[in-house]
Symmetry: C2
């Protein structure tokens, strides 16, 4: 069964995010950007995974996210899996 997995990796809230701060400044300088705050920039990794079912694919992707895609010391990640029809 083929599934599409999406792993979102963001810096932990306690870690300074200079890229987010820079983007926030750029947005605020734009017309209509005054109402914007708390900008944070992260990564998203989309992958196609073959596995027996969505649950086992999610388990596998979580292991890979923890070991390879994210640095759990500084980053937090979320995994979303959905079957491809």
């Amino acid at each position: 069964m083929q599934c599409k997995a999406e792993v979102t990796v963001m810096f932990r809230k306690s870690i300074l995010d200079p890229q987010g701060a820079a983007v926030e400044r750029a947005l605020k300088a734009h017309e209509g950007g005054a109402d914007i705050s708390s900008v944070r920039v992260g990564k998203v990794i989309e992958l196609t995974v073959d596995g027996p079912d969505a649950k086992s694919v999610e388990e596998k992707v979580k292991v890979l996210a923890d070991r390879i895609l994210a640095n759990p010391v500084m980053e937090e990640y979320s995994v979303h899996v959905e079957p491809l029809s």
Copy 2:
């Protein structure tokens, strides 16, 4: 009304994604990574926006995504807005 917006920016399918290819190679080299394909890496920008309602916030964030956060020539983006309780 405060809303949390999430803008996901990915390279268009027709554009080569070398970062995705590098991540795919790293994942395939890992135990259990043989079933993985079509890896693409993008950016996710989380922001808090103040506005009259979720719909107008979504309109505003779409304009900002189109003009500042993404390069529509090479990238495609999606916007997801949800009200903060």
